[in-house]
Subunit: 654 residues, 2 copies
């Protein structure tokens, strides 16, 4: 058994339930599994704070009534109002009721003060999913959790299911409280052991699904395209082969026998060495639709990843541009995917760099369902050793208007992210990285939410009753932390200046002569990738207007994306008025200074934060500072050696 | 049991024994284990080729008499002569007799033609040792064999001794045939499992020693300095602590109970994170002498490695120079080491790069016994995927005269090398890398031997009776292969432009901002490390004259070491008449062309080489060419981007 003390309460500490726990509440309707969850939450809170929780019967004198009026699982909305001293949540489905409860929890005493006109809340995106890149068997290269920075897996350990599911249950509860309704429990790189989650290890998945279901979360599986060959003994995985289709149909039917509300499959195909339909001369629509056909009778969905590119590119070949790949591969297929296929598109055209433009594929396939994929796990943003609050980055992505009209967040059916959680006591390694996990769920619910308001919610829930000084301090540390990280790492939209393989720490040329399609082309005269239509790879032309025109010219391209779209001399003057080379020096010195200031602010909050949490963050700040200085000095030295231009302010560049 | 077909005959194919096997031979003297080995070799050969081998008694009509006249294990010499139709080998010790036999085998029919005046042969170096960097337990980073490129370990597999020792026996026989008399059976980085070879796993070592002993090979162990703490439960490993000394004395005595002729310990201390005497404020003489005291009563030796440097250097710090470290650490200790301590010094001041000057420590400690350490395993010279015949490199090292007088080879007591052999069918991965293993032994016997003659020996033994065209082809491929490898990889003495970690393939800046002390300081104006006394780190001043003066100035420094000793502009004109930058381009194009030519020559030898061997080498050439082109293009592009100087001959630089 997991000791409850083994994991942090995160944004659901007991004290966050004080307002509901001190009252008399009634949960009506059902029978319904999620209404029971709502009741249990209230009963637990009341046991602590002196209220009373009633289920089913009419109860006079209730201050809070949660009314389940139907059994519609598709309707996740709820209506909240208050009149005559009674706060009412009404929902036609169990999930809505649960989300309504957590909304009341967030409001705290405000939910019980004065009248509230009835207002309906409903998630903007139907699917709000976390993908876990967790391996069952420890992989010799990527370990238990690929790109995991928070200990081991929540689900798997050393080749087996963990068995003890208390932590998974607590995780499900945290996810429900920020609105997440789907979890994929294994890595998109499906290795041999993990393939068997679909077959003889299915019981392990069903056990997880049973624990997540009371929190409104459907369980999904990543599957490998070649599984009919690997496990079914078939000579092919051709998606048009009847035997292959029959194998998937039968395998999928068995999954639904074990997990009636199974969510569906996540697929990484023809990507970074994974098998896929290309081997059979079939399109990705053929591949996805085959799985869709197997899932359709049961109500399941295929999340088909658009992360398809040539990862064996020749660095000498300047005509191939990885940034173009997803758009080039998928736009010809628009309208050809089945209704229960969702194309899962990374938010940027490359791979979760600290700064990328929004992928031009988003908005380019009006007849295809879209999920935008984010990365909560901080692969390229400090690996949960650096503080890096990603709410503002995601908000920029979701508010981006691909054709000047509807925002990316409104165009999508789903928001998906790679989870940053593991079996670490604080869930996320860096305790402040909990804010990212929380914000992901809340932005999936409302992609146009103000990230600052989301952060306020997270702070208030995590530290109920704390003085304003704590919130101010956390804002001072977190609000600008993405910008700070960008400053001391990657200038002006350049990416991949990281150590190959593990991706932590700087290596300016680490990927420059690699087959991964990730280049900056720095030479003694300038730096950046010409992706213009006029003289470069043409990537800028994949955008609709106004973006295509804006990105096409260095005169109009935003500074922060200049080197993503253009190769310019070191002396090129930015809109900010400074040169590229001086910008590199300035931002690297500023970034370190800002990280030092954040550490100082955190030190001053020691009296307001529980000691273990404070110590963990303080320890991470030491590593962040060491690493930030290393970034500053390596980047500055590299570009001084190349450009020969000294820092105009005479600071030390080694 | 190992199937004999599992391993190649290398330089001891049956046919190499035709001349001795067709005759009547007599082995006299003993009883002696090695004389028995000699007799068995002859009996086996005679069974194949129709001769007769007699042991002990006088035998009229013998064409070959091997006479053991004493039992002096320290005398490894033998006298060979021929008169009255009888070839005679006389030795006062069993090893000499065995080496005499293999000498006769090398001579073939020439040993039985006409008269030969008696001539005594004796090894120049007393210790001729191979270190195996083999782990017992597979290490998560370095694997079963650290820097091994020939399959698994000969001795260990997956945490256990292999049990089947047939392959080890065959290995011992091969080593005896080239004069090697010592083997260390485990990695100098001694991890937890391997530490126990000294204690409860000692039986595994004894079993290996039993198999190697009949071939005149003494077995050595690498030991960890902190073993008294790890296994003995002591609170310290202080070499002056009486309990520590007593622990080592007792452990060593137990080793000798199991292995009466145990050779001694190999120690890597205070090096790359290994524990050592510095932790206790003691000197390396204190540390080595403690182990020497434990070994001395039993006749054992400590091989104490001088590979001590700061591997956590700050790349910003230009005053620290790793090349200086061994000399700076050890010269103050000259005369303070016990008589049974041998200081084991890498041949260059850095770490087995394709080109380094000879270490200034060699010859700088006249009152300390010296072993020169080479690397037969091709960590930095193509990892047995590239053909790289190292005889000429080693010969340069061994013929180097540190003070203008005695050569390095004559100054040393021993020659030690990291083995390139594993459980690969061809022993060494690349079949042509067998030549390196053979040459190591032969150069340890005679450090002034002509490497070309050694190669002739190896060719003739490995391919008995082959036509001259094969020898010519192999010379064409091998003679210049080190120079070729140098050309397409590292110019002018620059090292470490390799992929970090595994060290295969180019990464010009891979170690440039690392803590390993391995920098080239390339910027837009020039490249190289100023190690002069006048303006640099002073390393050049560690040499005796004439070298100190020669290396001090770029005007006199040999071209091939220029960038090791000096930072010069790309336009600096070499003694060869070309500029540094043009030299980089020229040699990289030449190197690839030479490798292509070598592949062509090998293809033309298909009719003269057994198919499996030919195919293996042919397959390696494909990878060599791919890799060589990658080296050429990355190095050329890197320096074009930095220098801005185009290739004067207009070839393609990407």
């Amino acid at each position: 058994m997991t000791d409850p003390g083994d994991f942090d309460a995160a944004w659901l500490p007991d004290a966050a339930f004080r307002a509901v726990g001190a009252r008399r509440s009634l949960v009506r309707g059902g029978p319904d599994l999620l209404a029971d969850t709502v009741h249990r939450e209230l009963a637990d809170a009341c046991a602590r704070f002196g209220g009373e929780a009633v289920r089913g019967a009419d109860a006079g004198g209730a201050g809070l009534v949660l009314d389940l009026t139907g059994d519609n699982p598709a309707d996740e909305g709820f209506t909240l109002g208050r009149a005559d001293g009674v706060t009412t949540v009404t929902a036609s489905g169990g999930r809505g009721l649960l989300y309504g409860l957590f909304h009341v929890v967030r409001l705290g005493e405000d939910a019980f003060a004065g009248d509230l006109p009835p207002r309906t809340h409903r998630p903007a995106l139907a699917t709000r999913m976390l993908d876990h890149w967790d391996n069952v068997a420890v992989h010799p290269v990527t370990g238990q959790v690929e790109r995991g920075y928070a200990g081991g897996s929540l689900f798997w350990a050393d080749g087996e299911a963990r068995g003890d599911l208390d932590r998974v249950r607590a995780y499900g509860r945290l996810l429900a409280a920020c609105g997440i309704n789907a979890v994929a429990v294994n890595n998109v790189n499906v290795h041999a052991t993990e393939a068997r989650l679909l077959t003889d290890r299915l019981g392990d998945v069903a056990a997880i699904a049973d624990v997540l279901r009371p929190y409104g979360i459907r369980t999904h599986l990543s599957v490998g395209f070649a599984t009919p060959m690997l496990l079914g003994g078939l000579p092919t995985a051709d998606p048009l082969d009847p035997a292959v289709r029959a194998w998937w149909a039968a395998a999928t039917a068995r999954v639904y026998e074990a997990i009636g509300d199974f969510g569906g499959f996540v697929v990484k195909a023809d990507s970074e060495g994974r098998p896929g339909p290309f081997a059979y001369g079939r399109s990705h629509a053929d591949g996805a639709n085959m799985l869709a056909a197997a899932l359709e009778p049961h109500g399941g969905t295929v999340h088909w990843r658009a992360f398809v590119y040539d990862h064996r590119q020749d660095w000498r070949d300047r005509s191939t541009d990885r940034a173009r790949a997803a758009y080039d591969h998928f736009t010809p297929l628009d309208g050809r995917f089945a209704d229960n296929v969702v194309l899962q598109v990374k938010h940027g055209p490359m791979d979760f760099q600290v700064r990328e433009p929004v992928s031009p594929l988003i908005g380019a396939m009006p007849d295809t369902r879209l999920a935008v994929e984010l990365q909560v796990t901080q692969e390229y943003t400090g690996q949960q050793r650096h503080v890096c609050w990603l709410g503002p980055m995601w908000s920029e992505v979701l508010r981006f208007r691909p054709a000047g009209g509807t925002s990316a967040g409104r165009l999508a059916d789903g928001l998906v992210a790679v989870s940053n959680a593991g079996d670490d006591r604080f869930w996320t390694g860096h305790p402040l990285a909990q804010a990212n996990l929380y914000a992901f769920g809340r932005l999936a619910w409302d992609p146009e939410a103000d990230p600052r308001a989301v952060l306020d919610e997270w702070i208030a829930l995590t530290h109920p009753g704390a003085p304003a000084r704590l919130a101010e301090g956390l804002h001072a540390i977190l609000d600008g932390s993405w910008a700070t990280y960008e400053k001391y790492t990657a200038p002006l939209g350049v990416g991949f200046m990281v150590q190959p393989g593990h991706h932590y720490g700087p290596s300016v040329d680490g990927y420059e002569y690699s087959p991964w399609g990730t280049y900056h082309f720095a030479d003694r005269d300038g730096v950046g990738v010409d992706r213009s239509v006029a003289t470069g790879t043409g990537f800028a032309g994949q955008y609709a207007e106004p973006w295509a025109k804006l990105y096409e010219s260095p005169d109009t391209c935003p500074d922060e994306l200049l080197l993503f779209f253009h190769h310019v001399p070191y002396g090129h003057v930015l809109h900010s008025g400074t040169t590229v080379i001086q910008h590199i020096y300035d931002t690297h010195f500023e970034g370190v200074a800002e990280a030092e200031e954040a550490r100082r602010v955190w030190a001053g909050l020691a009296d307001l934060v529980e000691p273990e949490r404070h110590a963990r963050v303080a320890e991470r700040f030491e590593e962040q500072l060491r690493s930030a200085r290393e970034w500053r000095d390596q980047i500055n030295s590299y570009f001084l050696r190349k450009s020969g231009v000294p820092d105009a302010r005479g600071r030390t560049v080694h």
